[in-house]
Symmetry: C2
């Protein structure tokens, strides 16, 4: 009989999830689906649904949050676009993970000159615990001299030593991270951080430069000092745009290139 249930169920401040500040004096306005998105993100963050697991169906979530399926759908759509969730028709919606998928190339876009994606192996150099320098502390939003973990490693593509990485992590989040545990783990580093330490890398920002290899780096990469290297400074973020990794990489781009798409 009623033409539009929304006209009675959805005026400001009457429904379960609320409509944000539309009835308050604040000039802000938050769409319902954004609030649902936030609630779903919370459940991801707290581990209610873990990487690789299926989350409740759209209908179940709609009932839980007391909104329509369409609103849940729009929230999930955005989370899927941000690579936090993966939809699979006929099966359900799953929490994204760094373990599978080939999500590996997402964070290491090094291709051979012929365009092929070659596999690589990691060679760990060290894993030390020390105190953050002022610079690292600032980037990780820690206090100076807070404990951090430093990992140094080489990556070999087809046996060729191609990448030298220095990775800084907040000590508090990565207790029990040792060289031994690192070397035992099979798979991408981010997959280990996700499954072993509950820290999931969501996005990263990189500063790329061309630099001359200094003697120490040159020796590790088997190139002469002064050799041109790609310098990649990365800061990775987890939920809530919290920085949880600083990475400095030196890439030998002979036979390989860094692939980037502008769109």
């Amino acid at each position: 009989m009623n033409a539009n249930p929304a006209s009675t169920a959805n005026p400001p401040g009457q429904d379960g999830a609320g409509t944000g500040a539309s009835s308050s004096g604040s000039p802000t306005f938050s769409p319902l689906y954004q609030q649902i998105k936030g609630l779903i993100t919370q459940s991801l963050e707290t581990g209610e649904w873990k990487p690789g697991e299926i989350i409740p169906s759209e209908m179940e979530l709609a009932a839980r949050y007391k909104v329509s399926q369409g609103t849940v759908r729009k929230a999930i759509d955005e989370l899927a676009a941000e690579n936090l969730l993966v939809r699979r028709q006929g099966k359900g919606t799953f929490v994204a993970t760094h373990s599978e998928d080939r999500a590996q190339f997402r964070f290491l876009r090094l291709l051979a000159d012929d365009g092929a994606e070659h596999p690589h192996v990691s060679r760990l150099l060290e894993c030390r615990r020390l105190r953050a320098t002022a610079d690292i502390a600032r980037q990780l939003e820690l206090k100076p001299a807070d404990p951090v973990v430093l990992i140094r490693r080489l990556l070999q593509f087809d046996g060729e030593t191609t990448v030298l990485d220095e990775i800084w992590l907040p000590g508090g989040l990565f207790r029990g991270l040792t060289l031994e545990r690192l070397s035992e783990y099979k798979g991408p580093l981010y997959a280990m951080f996700e499954s072993e330490f509950g820290t999931r890398m969501i996005r990263a920002s990189e500063k790329i430069r061309a630099v001359a290899a200094d003697p120490a780096v040159a020796e590790q990469l088997h190139v002469p000092p002064g050799f041109p290297l790609l310098s990649v400074e990365r800061v990775s973020y987890t939920y809530g745009d919290k920085p949880v990794e600083v990475r400095r990489g030196w890439y030998v781009t002979n036979g390989y290139y860094y692939q980037n798409d502008l769109s």
Copy 2:
């Protein structure tokens, strides 16, 4: 009275735009909104709606294509996500353009070390017409020895010579492009290509390497030979993934860096 108009109006093969191959024997299936997206793209391609102009409202397009507003909306949503259209609430939907917006940074992501986005000026070196090499012809999907235009230029940031670009364009698409016309035009190169030659760059793919400056390049950039430079090889595409520009750039990354976000 009827609970669901769609149940009578939308069975396979009965509506205006059609529902793809759902009633044919073909295994393909194309959602209605994808077909609408294709029709809108066509109108963009043919110039029915030009860069900067407003396109018809969602209601008008829905009437034109004989679908619901929601279906048009979904088509426009995707085109907006691909930067082909720009939505402005309360005003309408507009054809994206390289002229305004600050869309400039989208295709030249060079920032100063302090993270600031500095303006730059272009210094044209030459604009010649010649025959494509085998390599350039292949990348532009031309026949070998087809006519092409070569532009060479320098970019200066804060007076510092920072970038040397070599740009190849298909001769057929850029008739009448001369050094004089280039130097007269104010604004980004892509804005000129768009407004003067009707060729709009949609996306680009880059291969990035660190290289040692060869003597000729070094001289232009005022650095010593062998100096580490960022080499950026770009292929730009217009509608239908048709390549229309090959660009080779050398960047001096002292005081500046190439910004990239992984997400």
